[in-house]
Every structure is written in structure tokens, then in C-alpha cells.
Amino acid sequence: MSTGILVLIGYTIVILGIAFYAARKDEKNIADFATADSSLGIFVLTLTLSATYHSAYAFLGAPGFIYTHGVGWWANGIWTVFPGVLFWIIGRRFWLMGKRYGYISIAQFMSDVYESDLVGLLITGITLVFTIPYVAMQAIGSGYIFEAISGGLLSYEMGTLFFFALMIVLVWMGGMKGVAITDAAQGVFMWIGLVVGSFIIIRTNFPSVSNAYLEAFKVIPEHFSLPGPNGTLTMADWISRWSVITIGMMMFPHIMLRFFSGKSLKVLKWSSVFSSIYLTSIYVFTPAVGLIGNLLMPGLAAPDTVFPEMLLQYTPILFASLVIAGALAASMSTGDSQLHAVGSMLTTDVYKKYVNREASDNQQYRVAKIVILGLGVVSIIVALMRPGLLGNILALSNGGVASLAPAVLGGIYWPKANKQGAIASIIIGEAVMLLTTFVVTPPLGLMPGLWGMLVALVVYVAVCPRFPSSDRAVELIGEIREFFYQ
């Protein structure tokens, strides 16, 4: 049996052990399953937010993108610093409302603030549709990782199926607590794997990091400025990429659920600050690794595999396997959180509301588990179809949910908010996003997700003042302002 497979077995045992520990604390009701009853502390919330936010992309997509398009990739830095800022500035408002009125999902809050079930249903449906490809992206990453770590002994298909099984077990065993605690462990694993692994690859081949950059520049100078060697990173692409991903990411249920999960505002604040630090530091050597990949492994057919390929070639097999298991941790921590979030959301916002209004907490808890299994199956089917490059899937998923931003943010900031504005904004924004993705070329080189978000904003601002404000929005926004500013 290869070292890689032994490491995988060890990783699985450790993660399952942690999940088992978390499961012992599971209260077996929907509030505990969905938000850990708002009990997470700074350490766990920081790492579950960070590890959930950055996924297989950190190990595979990011080095692959730099390998192909150059140092301009670091536009991504905006979405490592600012998500923490947004998580605090926006998240504290949702946290307060959750604490005061018991919301455990954004759709619940949105239905209430807009006094419209349709708004909640739209939020649930759209986030569900665009989360599935995102979970599939994690499974695709895992498939690649399994192939690499086992030296080809385990196939891509086996990797995705193993990923699916482990993910379901983790979510089933401990709900939010289980997911969050295993995420925390995986977050530590991710940081060590990415930072230490990258550093070792660089130092094995070059006397210093700056020398690695210098040698790369001699061969691929066009990678050191915008728009990169293929002309991809234009200014329009830059603005689109950071805005859609930074704002879009905040709209995903697995991130929103964490707004409600902190033990206190202090926990939420410091977790936000530390997640900005964690996410920015994790990529400190990634640009150098992606660039020197062009020297050490030129012409890779699948650039997304450049980091694991270099690890296997330039570091001892045991170390490489451990680091690649860190990549698996990154995929797993995002995938299980996403499945958990949409499962919880469908249960509280659809099953409880439209199927069985009398459902007890325990019934909802059991239904959530079944829903998660079903969604997991759909995601894996998508992954087995190998739908495309990780970066493209990320952009499509984020673009899809970014159009929700004006309505979601309006509900906590704008007293003129009303359901007419929210519904029109969501439907027209999504239509524009889909139109510019699949039918027409997006104008001005901006990404479809940004067009969807901009049009959604214009529609929201234009429609809301034409109808009476939602009384509940006025009341809740007033409460938020009074709490934080008086």
C-alpha cells in the first residue's frame, strides 16, 4: 500500500474521530443542527469561516491560475481581506436579528423583513441552485487529489465517491458543531499544508523566494504584469472578479449561516478580524509557487494540478501526502459546510413552512439529514460529469448568488425596502446574469455576475421608492440602528 493511501486513511480516522467527539454534544434539534445554537467561540468560528470560505481552490485553482495567468491573480487578495470586514459589518446586523428573533437562516429573515414568503422562497431556490455546482467543485478537487496522492492507484471517480461518503458522515454526525469543529482542525491542516508546503517547494529548488521570482521572470516576464500572458486579467476582469466573489460569497448559505453561529458579538468581531489575517497569510507563497511551476513543470495539461504535482516531485512522499491531505481538508471543509447549510435551509424554509408546519424540532433535524443526502448525490453526479475548470465553476456560482446582494443588504440597511423592489431586483438580476452567461457576450468585458449584481441594484433602487416601505423593515432597521449607534 502506498504512503499516500496510508496518509489518507490516517486523515480519515482523525477527522472522523473529531466528528465523533462533536456528535456527542449534538442536541438533536434543528437549531443546534443548523447554527450550533449560536455557541461557537472565536477559534472555531474563525477557522470554520476561513476553511469554509477557501476551498479546493486554495490548493488547486489558485496555483493553477497563477501558472496560467500570472501574478495578477492577487486581485484575489481583495477577497481575502474584505470578506472578514464584510462578515463583521454585515454579519453583526444579522447576528443581532438572529439573537433577538430566533432566525436560523437568511431566508427566514428575508421573508420576515419583506413580509413576503416569495422573497424567502426565491432566496432559498437561487442559493440552492448555485450551491450545487460549488459542492461539485469540491468533489472535482477531491477527485484530482485522490488521483495524485495515490499515484494513480485510486481513480478520479473513486475519489469523488469517497469525498461524498466522508462529507455525509461528517454532517450527519454532528450538524453545525461537527462541521465547525472538523473545519477548525482542517483549517489548521490547510494553513500548514499551503504555507509550509509552498515554502519547501521553493527552497528545494531556489536559494530564496526572491530568487525564485527572479528566475521565473527570466522565462515568463509577461506573467509579472497585467493583463498576463493570455490577456485575461484586464481591468474589467479584475473589478468583476473581486467584486462578484467578495460580495457573492457573503450570499451563500454556508457563509450566512455562520452569521448566526457566533456565541457573542465579540466572538463575531474577532473571528472576522482573524479570518482576514488567516486568509491573507495562507497565500503568502502561492504566487511564487504558481510562477515557478512554469519553470519546473512547463506545459501541464491540467494547470490546476501544478501544486500537488510539484509536491510529489520535490518533497518527500510522506510530507507531500500530508500536504495533499490538507488540500482534501480544504475541499471537505467547504463541501460539508455547503451541504449542511442548504440542507438546513431547505428544512427550515421549505419543509417546515410548506410541507409540515407542525414538524417538531427533532423531525426537522431528521429531514435535514435526508435532504443533505439527496443534495450530496446530485452534487456528486455533477462532479462525475466533470463540468469544467474550477475557476469557471467558482465564477458561475458566485455570480449566481451575487445578484441577491441588493435585496439582502437592503433588508438590513434601507428603510425604503419593500417586497416589490426585492422580488423585481432578484428576478431581473438573475435573468441578466444568466443571459450574459449563456446567451450574449457580457458588455465592456465585465463578468456576467457583475452585470447581474449591477442590474439588480439599479432595479432595487428604482422600484422600492415607488411602493410603500415594508413596516417590518422600518422596524428592524430602526432596532439595528438603535442598538449599534445609540
Binding site: G77, Y101, F224, L265, S272, V273
Partner: protein, 78 residues
Amino acid sequence: MKGTEKLVYGLLILVLLMVNPPILGLVNAYAKTTPFTLGYPTLWMWLQLWYFIGIVVFLIGAIRLKSWQKEYPEVNKK
């Protein structure tokens, strides 16, 4: 919103402006003629500097701003 809070938000917006067009375009043009600064890629250094400033501003806000220090009293849910 008090003056200090406005300053924190203002600085965070400044960070965003510094890492976006048109300023980014000027830095990129400079990076084409001077690809390295202190041994590292100029473009990367510029971005890294402003991201670092962004984190420091966020940290200062977390420590200093009164509206960021609020804590919710443990009372029953409504």
C-alpha cells in the same frame, strides 16, 4: 456614525481604491518598466502593502471603535 468610525471606513475605501483601476493601471505601467521592488514583483508588493494596511485598519477599528464594542445582553428572545 462618529468621526473615528468614518475614518476607519474611509481608510478601508482608500485601500479598495489603491488596488483598483485607475490607480492599479498606473502601478501596472510602472511594474512593466520596474518589475521588481525589494526583490519581489512590484505589482505583488503594491497589492500586498495595501492589503496589509487594510488588515491593520480593520484591527484598529476592532480595538478602538465604540460601536464595534457593543455586546448583546443575554435576555429572552422576542
